[in-house]
Symmetry: C2
Subunit: 385 residues, 2 copies
Amino acid sequence: MDISRIREDFPIAERYNYLNSAAIGIIPKSNLEALNKFSQRRILEIPHPDLYHNEYLKLTEETRELFARLIKAEKDEISFQPNTSMGINLIAEMLNWKRGDNVIVTDLGYPSGIYPWLRLKKRGLTTKILKNRDGLIDVSDFEEAIDQNTRVISVSFVSFANGYRHDLEALGKLAKQNNIYLVVDAIQGLGYLDLDVRKCRIDFLTSGNYKWLMAPFGAAEFYCCKKLLEELESPHVGWFSARDPFDLTLSPYKRSRTARMFEPGNPSFLSIFGIRESLKYISRLGMASIRKTIFKLRNTLVEGLQELDTWVPSPNGERHGSAIVFANLPSCVGEKVYAALKKRNIVVSQRSFNGRSGVRIAPSFWNTHEEVEALIDVFRELTSK
Amino acid sequence: MDISRIREDFPIAERYNYLNSAAIGIIPKSNLEALNKFSQRRILEIPHPDLYHNEYLKLTEETRELFARLIKAEKDEISFQPNTSMGINLIAEMLNWKRGDNVIVTDLGYPSGIYPWLRLKKRGLTTKILKNRDGLIDVSDFEEAIDQNTRVISVSFVSFANGYRHDLEALGKLAKQNNIYLVVDAIQGLGYLDLDVRKCRIDFLTSGNYKWLMAPFGAAEFYCCKKLLEELESPHVGWFSARDPFDLTLSPYKRSRTARMFEPGNPSFLSIFGIRESLKYISRLGMASIRKTIFKLRNTLVEGLQELDTWVPSPNGERHGSAIVFANLPSCVGEKVYAALKKRNIVVSQRSFNGRSGVRIAPSFWNTHEEVEALIDVFRELTSK
């Protein structure tokens, strides 16, 4: 990777030391230019109905295809939702629950991965929340929690909190052995980590695009495996999810046979265009190269922090590690660390983990080792005070 | 209104005679420039978490406020959904149905206004579809259809099919007298017609923005009246719909007290920015002036067509008329009319109404009388052939 050429695409780096892609990823300048041109067509060329159908809908299908390739799925298994959270809600509404059923989640997952299940308490659903031990949750923890009423295991591919990466292949195997659905929120992993929905036997996957996928807010992929697409009915129906959206004669509803059945109306075409551009960008650089670059930065970061006796409950190594690192300075609350970093134009997120106050650091492939060292320097100063 | 200055904002008009705002409205050039600048900030300034919270979320609240003013609601009654269709699905899922309940809809509504109710057949819900007579459905038709099991009346403010505008004030009165919810899909009326949710006693309103509101796809308003906000629970929950979205500690879910409870995750900020710009644009021109201009164009259109013995099942007058006109040339199928218009760069939609094939014509305030006359000329030629 030619880092100096890549840096030109991220002018933000001239103003900030931006180590916060786990919150919002920066859109490359070149993608943004394409995005603006796409908007421009709306006032110059796009309004002809033929163009709308030909361009907007073709774009959407192309983007499904590109995203499907990213997670080794099929195009027809991909739908667009407004955000990651909506994916979990879809599943919670869609599955046919029996009183006494339970769902296993973890305390490393994002709130939206938990609330939709809790909501179903009145329909007799129990939610078991597995607690991490020093940032880790083992497959055996799930194994122990499973009983004959377990219907779903719902996890984040990578934890937003400490960056713990689940062994999805092992979880998928366990889930299938027990006839349990595996649901994955992949937003904190996609864009730099490989994920194979077939190999991991994932039933449902939900993911937004505004982190390492570097795309605008407004569209999020929802994957439903082919077999379940045939068995289940979407809780949301509309003209767009019908087999023939352009039959407006109010004939009886026939749902699309593909994941389009989850899209009742027009999606955010602007956002989808943004995803397409980003998926192309990532594919030009190569995922392997992106991953390697990020893990190098991450390792420099963790080693530097650990030398200063910082508490880093973010597992090392590519099996359980990720681009997300939580750091707690025992001598200094997160608020103070955050403020000290902000003063140097270093952008991270202030967070707590397991009750300890700190910051979440999340480099991307376009960050440099100098940027990571600059952050470590601030930690060093805070330690020596 | 200074039409020549306005025309500069719609460069599409140099290339097409665009009479198709009922399909997709054109975004004014000035709004698009603002939209592109908004995107630009994402790669230059926005990523700092403080900026994200301060700017994106402030923008969203401002847009709620502007939209609320448009329909005479309160800011806290407005939420953003991905599209108009999702609004109807929300209500269909949210209400607590009893077997035997029924919903009254009309055949002038859009498919998405009907499918979500039909889906509930297995839960014992019946959907009564009122049929129009020559394009009209009277309040007395609803009155006759109501029985003691009627829970909902769900209509389009303005029909996508023929432009029929319901008397919402009369419908609201009827609904309240019978303890029935009134649901309105307003997408084909907002931007040029006044609508007062209080005066019309509307319980739920859903509307996208990509027609006369001239904004991008990707965000659609969902209004839920205050009283029902307190009584009902959203079927979708997530971090964003919680009372404090930034409490990520997985504490028990407490829903927002406002319509934000319907927003489980991040909306399409780009689209919301687009809405804000458009609402400001419309407010600068003045709704009364826009409405007057459109009705003048529409009257010229209808008079011209009727002189040619075209069948126009689109009621006249501001009480039941709108910017949408359906036209059927008895001597010529819609496909042929559409093709003849297309040859002259005149853009409309090809549609059927009550089994008769024709075109749907939909001028906006930036169209000219010359453009309308040019369309009538084509009809004249087709008639004389």
